[in-house]
């Protein structure tokens, strides 16, 4: 059996964060929010383009579950940086659905289509009407969970 070593490491980062100067956590997060807000418009456009690619895949019905998964993960990646929770929940459900589909070596364009339509709806609402959209996301999860039962 090979030897296991335990090593005490002093990271440079630990010394840097404690140096005098810098800013309070409150100011740092406010600045980060301002910087992020400047990116929000481009992010929204990118999300729209990615959802458009998913819509095209649903229309052609030739893409693999892997391809759908990759595009859905892109939505989750971008929306996740901007704390768009509803859009994240919906894209997470689509990721989970396609992951289960590829594991079972199946394809279900109806369920995928419902998810993609929901993504477009949520994207167009900008995370407003949270209660209404929550019931949409609950419906998506009901579709995804049904796959385990079938």
């Amino acid at each position: 059996m090979s030897k296991t070593e335990f090593i005490k490491v002093q990271h440079r980062l630990s010394q840097q964060v404690a140096k005098p100067g810098g800013m309070t956590a409150d100011i740092a997060t406010q600045r980060a929010r301002r910087e992020l807000a400047a990116q929000a418009g481009d992010a929204k456009k990118s999300l729209g383009v990615t959802i458009g690619r998913l819509e095209a895949m649903c229309a052609e019905k030739t893409a693999s579950a892997d391809d759908i998964y990759v595009e859905s993960a892109v939505v989750l990646d971008i929306a996740g940086m901007f704390d768009m929770r509803t859009l994240c929940d919906a894209s997470y459900s689509l990721c989970e659905l396609t992951d289960r589909l590829r594991t079972k070596d199946r394809q279900d364009w109806t369920s995928i289509g419902v998810h993609v339509n929901a993504l477009r709806l949520i994207w167009s609402k900008d995370d407003k009407d949270a209660d209404q959209l929550k019931s949409v996301v609950d419906g998506l999860w009901a579709i995804t969970d049904r796959l385990d039962a079938s």
């Binding site: 990271h11 740092a28 997060t29 929306a79 996740g80 940086m81 992951d99």
Partner: protein, 198 residues
């Protein structure tokens, strides 16, 4: 457990590497980190490109996406912990994940990242994780199957500078002495049984 908003954090001199294959997400991450006061950051879109930076730059923190084509974040961190230049193998890593496919759960656990942060997250959460990584006192483990922070659970109380949820939640971090050392008589008096009159 939220980070105390009044706690000071200085990232002026920290060099951060950001890795994400999605340009929009990478820009957003870069904007957040810039807001935290980081002046020097490198951005790249793949694990292979990140390897190049690790070999050629001094880095204090790496924030990487988990899922990327070709070399994903898990494989990149595995490489970092095993085959990177010796002075950089334990560079702190925060891994960002979106959806975790079932097939990736073990790979994620064994990658050796310091923290895994699930999307969606806010700037507060990312800053909190950076703070935790900076104050992380876990030892690093180097074995045949795993290189990374010690994953064994030990209750150390809340991280230093963070209030616990219960009134008796105290961090086990002792910190520097604030009073002069006691002399031997004072120590003896603390332990000496005394007769009391009831």
């Amino acid at each position: 457990m939220a980070l105390d908003p009044n706690i000071r954090i200085n990232l002026d001199r920290s060099v951060v590497l950001l890795v994400d294959d999605n340009p929009q997400a990478l820009e957003a991450l870069s904007a957040m980190v810039r807001g935290f006061g980081v002046r020097k950051q490198f951005k790249c879109g793949s694990g292979a490109e990140a390897m190049h930076y690790v070999k050629n730059q001094e880095l204090d923190l790496i924030i990487t996406d988990a899922q990327m084509p070709d070399m994903d974040g898990y494989d990149f961190v595995r490489w970092l912990r095993r085959d990177a230049p010796p002075e950089l193998i334990f560079t702190p890593v925060i891994m960002l994940t979106g959806h975790a496919p079932r097939s990736m759960v073990e790979k994620s656990r064994d990658s050796g990242a310091n923290f895994i942060l699930t999307r969606p997250f806010t700037p507060e959460i990312l800053l909190q994780r950076i703070f935790w990584v900076a104050r992380d006192e876990r030892q690093m483990v180097k074995s045949a199957n795993y290189v990374g922070p010690d994953r064994r659970f030990k209750n150390l109380g809340p991280p230093l500078g963070v209030k616990g949820r219960r009134k008796d939640d105290l961090s086990t971090h002792v910190g520097a002495a604030v009073d002069p050392n006691m002399d031997q008589n004072e120590v003896d008096m603390l332990m000496k049984p005394a007769r009391v009159q009831i």
